[in-house]
Amino acid sequence: MAVDTLEPRGMRPRPFFTPRKIIIYSLLFFISVYYLFPMYVMIVTSLKSLDEARGGNIFALPIKVTFDPWFKAWDTACTGLYCEGLKVGFLNSMKITIPSVIVSVLIASINGYALVNWRFKGSEVFFVILLFGSFIPYQVMLYPLVIILRELHMFSTLQGVILIHTVFGMPILTLLFRNYFASLPPELFKAARVDGAGFWRIFIQIMVPMSLPIFVVAMILQITGIWNDFLFGVIFAGNQNYPMTVQLNNIVNSTQGVKEYNVNMAATILTGLVPLAVYFISGKWFVRGIAAGAVKG
């Protein structure tokens, strides 16, 4: 922090265990415990045999580590008549998530750019309504959207679900992009205009290369949201494209005889792996992206 750097940095060696540091790190430690605790319970439980998971202490480490629940969740857990685990939905989730993320981020970035640099009459009004839209419960729009997509012949298709994710991702993403572009120096845009560059050229050659961080943020948000979605996937993507969350729901919310907590936990972790991996890999970018200007405005 800035305050520290102003302190004299002479010969006096600073001890590591200052009271201030002890307070900060012990605070961080306790907070981390709260955040890590549920993950710990999930992982530990998923590595226990069913008897141990049901009978024992949920905090205890497994007496005998077994990976069977993981294999079962992925490969053989039953949902209805099919005992094929989560793996069936994995590819479908990919098929839905990848194009939806690309399209929704692209459109939202163009929105943000147009809202900042190419304002037209009423553009702010559209933006405000868009923000209002993020407060409306999805369920309310379900039936009219079903009817609209039917008329467009896009119901139960990948294009349909991509469209739905684009629409519902638009408010927050547009807000982020709009704020980001607004924080860029306006001279850049003006200079490009003076050189005669048009809408798309400025966007592609100047704006996009400068806004990598915010693209990363938007993509992370969308990957998380779309990967975890259940309702839109199951209704709009069609039965041939059921996402992984459908199997997760079926595994977690149905029990065939004894409730298999260990398999449930393994299944939830497996389903969360993709967004988790995205966070672990690009977590640094995430903060940088937001810090790079997405929050100004």
Binding site: W118, F126, P137, M265, F280
Partner: protein, 313 residues
């Protein structure tokens, strides 16, 4: 967002000094307009159109399909006589206030903590942020377990000899909302922390130096200088957190199913139940219209302050 509005004031046409053909200008404008078309359509068709659709059908006696007859305010009269709806609105209000205050305050404090030039900042940040990557199904399942008196913390404490220890928030009507808040905070504060941290980082070091020279203590610098400068991030965060609260549904279904009884029921669940499970679209849409009206009452004054007067400058 004041700067954004100002930056956007400069009209592109004015600075286009090079002589250009009329149709050239027309084409340029055209591509900007075409580019904005998806947004315009989304706003008009989905957010305005579908909302209007739902308001119109809330005045009908539609059953499981939108095809009923006009019945005036009958659905609304019934709605306000229904203890469950009124109760669910109260639950949401309590949850909303607690969740909003704690998410914002805790998120900010965590960001300040992370901003203390600590070691392993990346690790700590990831730890706080990872729950945001998980679906509500996961959050519901694991917290249900931890707070279950027969399996979770209470049982462990009991086995250790603390027989009076109670941690059964979810099974008690008076405390179930707090259980929801705890699980919701677990999932959501990390993201708010990141937004706030980004806000803190975007503040010029010079401001800190100046405050230091003036002898202002750190807490006052935060309160009186830094927070006002973070207005943009605070608004972004409020929109994200607020819309999450109003639409609260998944977490409730995954964690409590609205129970015990209806102690953790929320309006979105009422809407959903009536629209789909009970085949009474009219009633569900009346409830959703009330949600919409409430949101508008809260947001329109804000939008006016934010976007209204400045435009005429």
């Amino acid at each position: 967002m004041a700067e954004a509005t100002l930056a956007a004031q400069s009209k592109p046409e004015e600075i286009s000094t090079r002589p250009s053909l009329l149709h050239n200008i027309f084409l340029r404008n055209l591509s900007a307009k075409i580019a904005a078309l998806p947004m315009v359509l989304t706003v008009l068709v989905v957010f305005v159109g579908c909302s209007a659709w739902s308001v119109i059908y809330s005045f009908t006696n539609s059953g499981s399909l939108p095809s009923g007859k006009f019945v005036g305010f009958a659905q609304y009269e019934r709605l306000f006589k229904t203890a469950r709806f009124v109760g669910s609105a109260e639950n949401l209000a309590l949850y909303g206030v607690l969740s909003l205050v704690f998410t914002m305050v805790v998120g900010f404090l965590l960001a300040v903590l992370m901003d203390q030039k600590i070691r392993f900042e990346n690790t700590f940040r990831t730890v706080l942020l990872y729950p945001f990557a998980l679906s509500f199904i996961v959050t519901g399942l694991v917290w249900q377990w931890i707070m279950n008196p027969n399996y979770g913390i209470q049982k462990v404490a009991f086995d250790l000899g603390f027989t009076n220890f109670r941690f059964d928030l979810l099974t008690n009507s008076d405390t179930v909302i707090y259980g929801l808040v705890i699980a919701g905070l677990w999932q959501g504060t990390g993201f708010v922390m990141v937004l706030m941290l980004a806000g803190l980082r975007s503040i010029d070091e010079e401001i800190w130096k100046a405050a230091r020279i003036d002898g202002i203590p750190a807490w006052r610098t935060y309160l009186q200088i830094v927070i006002p400068m973070m207005r943009g991030v605070v608004i972004t965060t409020l929109v994200i957190v607020g819309s999450g609260i109003v639409r609260l549904y998944d977490l409730v279904v995954a964690l409590t199913q609205g129970g015990p009884g209806f102690a953790s029921d929320v309006p979105a669940k009422y809407v959903y139940d009536y629209m789909f499970a009970r085949g009474n679209l009219g009633q569900g849409l009346a409830a959703s219209t009330m949600m919409l009206v409430t949101v508008l009452i809260i947001l329109i004054p804000w939008a006016y302050i934010e976007f209204g007067p400045k435009k005429n400058k």
